[in-house]
């Protein structure tokens, strides 16, 4: 597991930071250097909304290497409140309970680790909204 590869993405994965085209306002996640919509090379960092709804999902039952212990797990296509779509695991929910349109929010979780002596990779996953009560 490459340390520099992981480290480079830390900010963007931990805090859901994407990119916004200064010229046409298009939003992207992950970040880009060139806007595919208008061709501009002037883009700035953009803080994604951390809430959204489920568009589509699946349950991974035959996981790739390094994800075995988590199977079965849900991966969903989520549309955030600002319109940006994101691919993410859904946690704190049984696969049968996932429904299109359900409200979800970002959470910070372990993604995978390089054995018992390598680094631990953290990142975002999403979970059903924890609706809080007003005091």
């Amino acid at each position: 597991m490459s340390v520099p590869r992981y480290w480079r993405e830390i900010k963007y994965r931990y805090r859901l930071i994407g990119e916004r085209c200064i010229r046409c306002g298009s939003l992207y996640y992950p970040r880009r250097a060139i806007c595919p919509r208008c061709g501009s090379r002037e883009l700035e960092e953009y803080q994604l909304r951390d809430r959204g709804r489920v568009i589509s999902w699946t349950v991974i039952r035959n996981p790739p290497k390094d994800y075995e212990k988590f199977a079965p797990y849900v991966v969903a296509l989520v549309e955030l409140d600002d319109g940006v779509r994101i691919l993410t695991q859904l946690v704190d929910i049984e696969p049968e309970e996932v429904k299109a349109g359900m409200r979800v929010e970002a959470t910070f979780r372990r993604i995978r680790e390089d054995g018992t002596s390598g680094i631990i990779e953290y990142g975002y996953k999403f979970r059903p909204r924890i609706e809080s009560e007003k005091k």
């Binding site: 910070f108 979780r109 631990i120 953290y122 007003k134 005091k135």
Partner: protein
Amino acid sequence: MRPSNPVGIVGYGAYIPMWRLRTSEICRVWGGEPPIEEKAVSALDEDAVTIAVECARYALRRAGINPKELGAIYVGTESKPYAVKPCGTIVAEAIGATPELAAADYEFACKAGTEAFQTCIALVSSGMVKYAMAIGADTAQGRPADPLEYTVACGGAAFIFGPRSEKTLAYLEGSYSYVTDTPDFWRRASEFYPRHGGRFTGEPAYFRHIIGAAKGLMAELGYGPSDFKYAVFHQPNVKFPVRVARMLGFGMDAIKPGLIVQYVGNTYAGSTPLGLAATLDQARCGDRILVVSYGSGAGSDAFSFLVEDRAEGPTQDPPVSLFIGRKRYIDYSTYIKLRGKILR
């Protein structure tokens, strides 16, 4: 210990994982009597760091400050995912506080979180930093069939300290720390499970230090039990905090809001911070709260907080009671898989 410049809590946040193991499940496999009803268990993709980040995010939102204004983040835990590499920097990065701040991890068994309180209070009071965050979070391990296995649980809470102002939720009147070299409970560096001295963890350890710190603080501030509306004591089980409360002259009403161990378990470094968070969720302006933690090894930190009226203000953050109610049950075999006691 009284800070030279007034300090208060400007934000706090809690997090408890949703999985629950009924202690009756442990009894089904190992026998014994359940000392609490059920305990919180972290998911396979959770650890002390992820719990700390969740708490920190809620605390930040509650405080309404820019993360870059944080001058320090300290994470107290005895279940560090890395023996060497601080949780504090991961939390700092996850909440956008980097790079201009101090960060480190604390270890003092169950009082690592409140140890961090002391440092944060001092940093803020001295004017060295504007805001400082202390987190107590744990996913500690218990040896199968050991008495502590029935209570050891996962969870945490974060507190942001700042100069006393209209932002403050609770004002810190004073604190007191009481430590001795008492080896009541320990874990050697390469061991997976801790060990403890059985009944030795009672009077010479838990009771002596909590009482020492509580009496020391009350003497310094000139208070008696009747001056406090609430009291939060470290809760490794139900019996100990109830007994020490009685010994110090506090009634059940005082400790009830913060006593959550029977539903959540002992979250170790998260225990006293969570008890304080649960109490603050209910407290009103003018209430005084005594907080006394206990960490094996051993020591206690005592604090007196006076609740201010902003604490009653509206908030979108989930109260501790919501996390307690957000639960799904697992069985013993799922439990030992989640806790890494059996591996693929």
